[in-house]
Amino acid sequence: MSFSPLSRRGFLKGSAAVAGAATLPNLGYADGHSPLTVGFVYVGPKDDFGYNQAHAEGAAAVKAMEGVVVVEEENVAETIDVQKSMESMINFDDAKLLFPTSFGYFDPHVLAVAPKNPDVRFQHAAGLWTEGMPSNVGSYFGYIGMGQYLNGITAGHATQTKKIGFVAAKPIPQVLLNINSFLLGARQVDPEITCQVIFTGEWSLAVKEAEATNALADAGCDVITCHVDGPKVVMETAAGRDCFVCGYHANQAPLAPEKYLTGAEWNWAGIYTSMVQTVLDGGTIDNFVRGGLADGFIKMSPLGPAVSDASRAQFEATKAEIMAGGFAAIKGPLKDNTGNVIAADGEGFAEDDIALESMNYLVEGVIGSTS
């Protein structure tokens, strides 16, 4: 991993910082005067109560760091636009560390721009970096499926109809893992529970998300969660239909205070500041970074008022198990919803199993299909 210019400069900064950063306020990165510019690119608006907001909150934490300048761009499409936005940050702002945060930015866009800018570091959310890809590209993500598993436990306790619902954008591995985890969590409470999934086909499409939520409520689902970019509409519509809700991406409790059970949230602030710090210190970020609850990549929203004591106890116990590491939500005996065996008895996929990142099935008990 050729990172030498950065490392050298970073080292200078690092040692200078030790020498007396407190007395030299603007002591910077690089030549000792200019700060490190970090760029964030979002696919949607920064305040969507969801995916982009979670990243923007992480960026806000980076902004507060010393010796760092943050530049941001929102609503950047997964086309030539994102390539040019990143290059613009490099050309005009001298950005040395970029966080293109949308799934679809990775291949081909990040992979196309990175080789042309070898002294810039590209950190992509959710991408699957593999050996042979440009060494100045890194990918990071969190095991948020575990959060949906914990969501599922509170849902399993809250449901009366034994039917829970999931509004999903597209049948990609991350989404499928969330759906499966949500149901498997609920089935820890009652193995009879089923989960109805409705795909909207788009990451952000307000009316369709509302219609999908209504269809779930009509089908008898009484706890609903989602995986779309901005969960606001799903949360408000579901609560309006008297369903309980579990959040996703960010804390949506203010949108439905009485009905909100808990939520699986990203916790990018800690991750981003530590990655930026690594670069400031002249270190190299690993090309492949993953982490879960225990590593502070994700967190759970505080449990809502409707969560029963039994539910809380099981939630906390399972959370402790997950924190201990190596937890497998997907474990045998398990079939998918077309009858194929996913895992035999005794087999399991721990949260950090890379096979989970190419998931292409819905487990038994999920009503829906992957295409």
Binding site: G44, P45, D47, D48, F49, N75, T161, Q196, V197, I198, F199, T200, G201, S204, L205, A206, V207, K208, E209, A210, E211, A212, N214, A215, L216, A217, D218, A219, G220, G230, K232, V233, E236, T237, G240, R241, D242, P254, L255, I367, G368, S369, S371
Partner: protein, 307 residues
């Protein structure tokens, strides 16, 4: 489970969807029908709708009254319509092109000024429960009817009657059919068209307020997925007849519910194709009811898009 209705939820969802989703289409298409009857086309109502959604939400949040929000949306919409109408009264200015530019301007201004209102929660418009006679929660939910839907339905009838039987309606039709005839009658076509466009804009603004203040009931940049543009097209489909606009909006809303509900009863493969149902149905009806022999019946003679 007494709430499990099986396949009965399909027609129920279509009815519910028609009531929930149709209102923005209804308001925009009624407004555009008026405008087009006067001989102008305002393709920019998507921008007006989005600005109406933003301004309605913002005012509702700031004042605590959703109805003041609707009023604000209507006023903003009227202003957009007025600008379009005045500009298009200049000789040789193309109304279609100005509409497209105003669509961009309206969306731009809405997003620009709407940033601070994405996070706050504004009060919703009230709904009336017409499902009190039923014990079934799905039926009750489907028959939660927003007041704006009822107003829109009433307006459709009113406009239909107005165009047929009143002096205002006649004036509008004459102006729309022939500028020369209107001038000969001592009418001022540009003024009348500008007024019709302003009223059309006000309707579109209200359609937007429905989106942000009732269903889905929040303001963000993705609140409209082209409803304004589609509604303009529906006017041609409805042959400039307000009652047919109502029907078209219901058809569109109802068909839009098919995608989600079919998944919920287990028909889950190929959902993109079900999501396209409103467009396929509309196109099918359009092809079936068109004929090369006669021109578009009901088409105002001065309308640039059907000339």
């Amino acid at each position: 489970m007494d709430t499990d209705l099986g396949y009965w939820i399909i027609p129920l969802a279509i009815i519910g969807g028609a009531i929930r989703v149709s209102t923005p289409f209804l308001f925009v298409s009624l407004g555009e029908a008026l405008t087009e009857r006067s001989g102008r086309i305002n393709l920019g109502l998507e921008g007006t709708l989005v600005f109406g959604a933003m301004s309605g939400y913002a005012v509702a949040y700031l004042t605590g009254s959703p109805w003041l929000g609707v009023l604000a949306a209507a006023l903003c919409g009227a202003l957009f319509g007025l600008v379009h109408g005045v500009i298009c009264s200049l000789p040789r200015v193309n109304d279609i092109a100005i509409g497209i530019a105003m669509m961009i301007l309206g969306m731009g201004l809405a997003f620009y000024f709407g940033k601070p209102f994405v996070q706050p929660v504004a009060p919703d418009l009230p709904a009336i429960s017409f499902g009190w006679w039923s014990d079934i929660p799905q039926v009750r939910a489907a028959l939660e009817v927003n007041v704006l839907f009822l107003i829109g339905a009433g307006l459709a009838v009113l406009l239909w009657w107005m165009l047929r039987a009143t002096r205002v309606g006649l004036t509008l039709r004459v102006v729309g059919d022939s500028t020369d005839a209107a001038r000969a009658m001592g009418l001022r076509p540009a003024l009348i068209r500008t007024c019709a466009t302003a009223v059309g804009g006000a309707f579109a603004g209200v359609g937007g307020a429905y989106l942000s203040l009732y269903y889905p009931g929040s303001w963000n940049e993705g609140i409209s997925s082209g409803q304004g543009l589609m509604a303009v097209a529906l006017v041609i489909f409805a042959r400039w007849n307000p009652l047919a606009c109502f029907g078209a909006a219901l058809l569109f809303g109802g068909a839009g519910a098919l995608g989600p509900v079919l998944q919920s009863v287990g028909v889950s493969e190929g959902y993109y194709l079900f999501f396209a149902a409103p467009y396929v149905l509309t196109l099918g009806v359009l092809i079936a009811t068109s004929s090369p022999k006669r021109a578009m019946t009901g088409a105002p003679g001065e309308l640039s898009i059907t000339k």
